[in-house]
């Protein structure tokens, strides 16, 4: 699945995705479009984790933290009369820097993968408590009131505001196209990255870090680079999320939220970027269905899914299916060739 070359099938898939995205708004109701938009934002978040975890084996338990940082930075900057586009870029940048700072501590101290997981988890929980404690109106940055656990409301929606032209809000369909375009763009760039020498070294790091080091590669800055990139993409998703609902609250830093990202990628299968998207869509659909019964049931189901997949289906759905299919084809080919 995570093949080292682009296949014609893959190019076809990108084309099909672009066409589907272009056509979807005319098929669906506005409500449907808005719904799919947030699903795609979560797909972007899932892809961001897969960039670090799937490629280089860097499991961040705090991907939701970078998402949240992006969301809050977008909210704070856009509410202070900056253009929303600048806020979007700043959000991705801030999340990237945050990931970079954490990554610097972890990778340059050569902490093990497990410590990275513990660290990212702890930072997420601390952020939850810190942002939750800002309920007092005196906690504000410029005109943006942080609002504690109630969160921030009235966040401006993303508007494409080219210089010298009056800003125009995107509207649901325009926003949908922006989100989908960014998602496809990130997947395409991510795949190109995986094919480039840099990406191949990353995959090798994920498989056997020590061997890569012995071959003379400096693994530290490479891990730092992909981890920051992953954080930046998560921040971008967070910014889109707070623009989508005009709302963000510290819930984005909760453990359940962090777990969800990991579950998406685990269910779909890591290492291909496509698996992350499949997982996010499937689990999100399930969550929405169960959410109508009660949130406790959702959490129960998500927790059980996590345990079952780790124990029984470690590769995730997509790689398992693909391996099943291609394995059968390869077996048939093998018979023919012999």
């Amino acid at each position: 699945m995570a093949s080292a070359r682009l296949t014609a099938l893959e190019l076809l898939l990108w084309g099909a995705a672009a066409v589907a995205v272009a056509v979807l708004p005319s098929v669906l109701s506005i409500f449907g479009v808005v719904q799919i938009t947030v699903f795609f934002i979560f797909c972007l978040l899932a892809v961001s984790l897969d960039l670090a975890w799937g490629l280089a084996g860097l499991l961040s338990f705090g991907q939701a933290a970078f998402f949240g940082v992006g969301g809050y930075v977008y909210a704070i900057i856009s509410m202070n009369d900056a253009t929303t586009l600048a806020a979007l870029v700043a959000a991705a940048g801030a999340a990237g820097v945050a990931a970079g700072a954490l990554g610097y501590v972890a990778f340059y101290a050569r902490l093990s993968a497990m410590f990275l997981a513990v660290m990212t988890l702890t930072v997420t929980l601390i952020l939850l408590q810190v942002m939750g404690s800002t309920a007092d109106p005196s906690y504000h940055i410029g005109m943006a009131v942080l609002g504690g656990y109630n969160g921030m409301t009235n966040i401006p929606s993303l508007a494409l505001d080219p210089p010298f032209v009056s800003a125009r809000a995107l509207g649901p369909i325009g926003f949908f196209w922006t989100v989908s375009g960014l998602l496809i763009g990130v997947v395409v760039l991510g795949r190109l990255l995986m094919i480039a020498p840099f990406g191949r070294v990353l995959v090798a790091i994920g498989e056997n870090e020590q061997r890569v080091e012995l071959l003379g590669y400096d693994v530290r800055w490479r891990k730092l680079a992909i981890f920051s990139l992953s954080g930046a993409v998560a921040g971008l998703a967070g910014a889109l999320f707070s623009s989508w609902g005009s709302f963000i609250n510290p819930e984005v830093f909760s453990l359940a939220q962090s777990a969800q990202v990991v579950i998406w990628v685990l269910v779909g299968g890591r290492g291909s970027l496509y698996g992350a998207i499949v997982g996010a869509l499937l689990v999100q659909a399930l969550t929405q269905y169960l959410g109508s019964i009660g949130t406790a049931y959702t959490t129960l189901a998500l927790g059980s899914i996590l345990v079952v997949f780790v124990l029984l289906l470690r590769r995730g759905l997509l790689p398992t299916i693909v391996r099943g299919v291609t394995g059968r084809i390869a077996a048939a080919d093998g018979v023919r060739q012999r």
């Binding site: 930072v123 929980l125 359940a256 129960l300 927790g303 059980s304 996590l306 780790v310």
Partner: protein
């Protein structure tokens, strides 16, 4: 003078609660290298044991005595059903226990409701000069000391402790000598769970008990154990003293939130300097 005494008791309490809460995980991590993310939920289950026992006439003390056994048994089931398939796969263990943690929180919410339960703090107060000091806080300090002493004695003076330490150093050699290492792991995990249950039970009268209680402790516990490193006693005690002192000092100056933030910041700093935790520093010198 009285102020100093009360402040010192406060710092000792912060350290003791940190050590008490972390001891279970420290054993599980130090002995087996397993990071159990459901540890916070084991603490929560211990706290609920106290709530349920005082609701059914056994009282708070009955609950505190009962909790290690109840939670130890639950830990045994978890080890048999999940953990034992994942030994040697660190990240997978973390993921599975994370899922378990979510599932336990949801199950308890469904069974007992999402409301905050509480029991009155027993033992009352003593007056020290102008200050009222909760006697229960002294009990927590005593409980932490007794737990650490018990575990230390168990590992150093009993046959089980000898075998367990042997398994930690070289499981293959222990197996070659005719002892089944998985049985030792199972017992160790149950022991770690029981200690988490005890910690939760002891802390229960001091906080409101909700299904998400474990989340409040888990960050602290992890940071303490990670900073402590592989040495169970020295590491956890050292990290507990260091982090507990920082947390209570900063909390005293500003708010508990900043206390936690300062604790995390220091922990990251320590890990940057000593990636193996503070017990790694001693080992390098020794």
């Amino acid at each position: 003078m009285e102020f100093l005494f009360v402040t010192l008791i406060g710092v000792a309490f912060a350290i003791a609660s940190l050590v008490l809460l972390s001891l279970g995980l420290a054993i599980i991590y130090g002995m087996m290298g397993v990071i159990n993310l459901a540890q916070g939920e084991l603490i929560m289950l211990g706290a609920y044991t106290v709530i349920l026992s005082s609701a059914h006439g056994l009282g708070v003390w009955g609950g505190i005595v009962l909790a290690p056994f109840v939670v130890g048994a639950i830990g045994l089931v978890i080890e048999r059903c999940i953990i034992r398939f994942l030994y040697g796969r660190l990240l997978d263990t973390m993921l599975a226990t994370w899922g378990l943690s979510l599932a336990i929180i949801a199950a308890v919410t469904l069974a007992l409701g999402p409301t905050t339960e509480g029991v009155a703090t027993p033992l009352g107060h003593v007056a020290i000069g102008d200050y009222a000091l909760s006697v229960y806080n002294l009990f927590v300090i005593a409980a932490a000391a007794v737990s650490v002493g018990f575990v230390w004695a168990l590992f150093n003076f009993t046959k089980f402790g000898l075998i367990a330490r042997g398994t930690m150093q070289n499981a293959d050699m222990v197996a070659a000598l005719g002892i089944h290492p998985p049985t030792i792991y199972m017992a160790t995990f149950a022991l770690g769970s029981a200690l988490a249950g005890l910690a939760g039970a002891v802390m229960a009268p001091l906080t409101g008990v909700v299904p998400s209680l474990g989340l409040a402790y888990i960050a602290k516990v992890f940071i303490t154990v990670t900073v402590g490193g592989a040495a169970i006693f020295g590491g956890t005690l050292g990290a507990g003293v260091f982090l507990g002192a920082i947390e209570s000092a900063v909390s005293f100056i500003s708010t508990p939130i900043y206390g936690q933030v300062a604790m995390l910041g220091c922990a990251l700093l320590v890990l940057r300097i000593a990636p193996q935790g503070i017990s790694g520093l001693w080992r390098r010198r020794g």
